[in-house]
Amino acid sequence: MNKMFQRILVPVDGSRYMSGVVAHAIAIAKKTDSSLTFLYVVNVEPATTLELEKQKENSTRIPEECRRKAAAEDVSASSRIEVGSPAETIVEIAVREKFDLIIIGSRGYSRLKTLFLGSVADEVMEQASCPVLLIK
C-alpha cells in the first residue's frame, strides 16, 4: 500500500496533555512507517520573563525527550526548536517543508481554560493546509 503519511509534524509544549499526543503520534508513525518531527516553539511574546525562562528550559528538554521516546520504539524522529508565534510558526513550517499531517493536542500549555480547544490548536486547525489531527 502506498504510504499514507511520510512526515508528521508534532508540536509539543510540555503541557500535561502532551503525553497522549506523543503516544498517538508514535503509534501512527509506527503503523504508517512515517517520521516524526517534534517541534517546540518558544513564544516570542511571553507574558512574563519567568515564563520565557521556563520556555527556554522546556525547549531544550521536551522535544528531545519526545524524540528519544519515539526512537526507543524504532520510530524515526527528530527534535527541533523554533522561535516565534506558536500557531503561525507551526503552520508555516508545515507548509514550507511539506509535512503531510500535523498532530496537535487540543489543549496546550495555557492559563486560559478553553473548554475543548486551545488557542494554538484552533489557529493551526484554521490555517493549516495539510490534514490536522486534534488529539483530545
Binding site: 500500500m1 499514507m4 503516544a23 498517538h24 503509534a27 501512527i28 503503523k31 504508517t32 487540543s106 473548554l115 475543548f116 480547544l117 484552533d122 486547525m125 484554521e126 490555517q127 493549516a128 493546509s129 495539510c130 490534514p131 490536522v132 489531527l133 486534534l134 488529539i135 483530545k136
Partner: protein
C-alpha cells in the same frame, strides 16, 4: 489503540477522498467505520409553514449509500447514521460521537473559496467534540 471512527459525509465532491482516507486509516491502524450524514433541515421562521424534508432525507440516504458502497469496494464495512438537524450539523455530529462512544471523527473542511479556512460544521465539531478530530483539507 483501535479507533471507533465516525466519518462525516456531505455528498460534496470531496466526499470520495474523505472516505478513501478513512478506509486507508482503518487498513493501516485498525478500527471500525461508521458514516454519518446530517440532513440540514431549514429552521422555520413561520412554524405553521409545513416543510417537507422527505427529499432531503432521500438525498441523505443516497449519500450514505454511495459512501458505504465505496467503503465496501475497499474491502471494509461501515455502519451508517442519518440524522436531521435544524441549525449547525456539527452539534449533531458531536452528540452522536458522545452518545455512541466514538474515539475519532474524520471530516473534510469545505472551507472558503481559498480552500484554507475551516467551515462552520468543522469548526463546531473541533471545538465541541470530546474525542479526537481529524480534519482533511479540500
Amino acid at each position: 489503540m483501535v479507533e471507533k471512527i465516525l466519518v462525516a459525509v456531505d455528498g460534496s465532491e470531496t466526499m470520495e477522498r474523505t472516505v478513501r482516507f478513512a478506509c486507508d486509516l482503518v487498513k493501516v491502524m485498525g478500527g471500525s467505520l461508521t458514516l454519518i450524514h446530517v440532513v440540514d433541515v431549514p429552521v422555520m421562521i413561520q412554524p405553521n409553514l409545513m416543510f417537507d424534508s422527505t427529499p432531503l432525507i432521500q438525498d441523505g440516504e443516497m449519500i450514505l449509500r454511495t459512501a458505504q458502497k465505496q467503503v465496501e469496494q475497499n474491502g471494509l464495512k461501515a455502519d451508517i447514521i442519518l440524522k436531521q438537524e435544524g441549525g449547525n450539523a456539527g452539534h449533531r455530529i458531536v452528540a452522536v460521537a458522545e452518545e455512541q462512544g466514538f474515539t475519532l471523527i474524520v471530516m473534510h473542511t469545505r472551507g472558503k473559496a481559498s480552500g484554507i479556512l475551516v467551515g462552520s460544521v468543522c469548526h463546531t465539531v473541533a471545538h465541541n467534540a470530546s474525542c479526537s478530530v481529524l480534519i482533511l483539507r479540500p
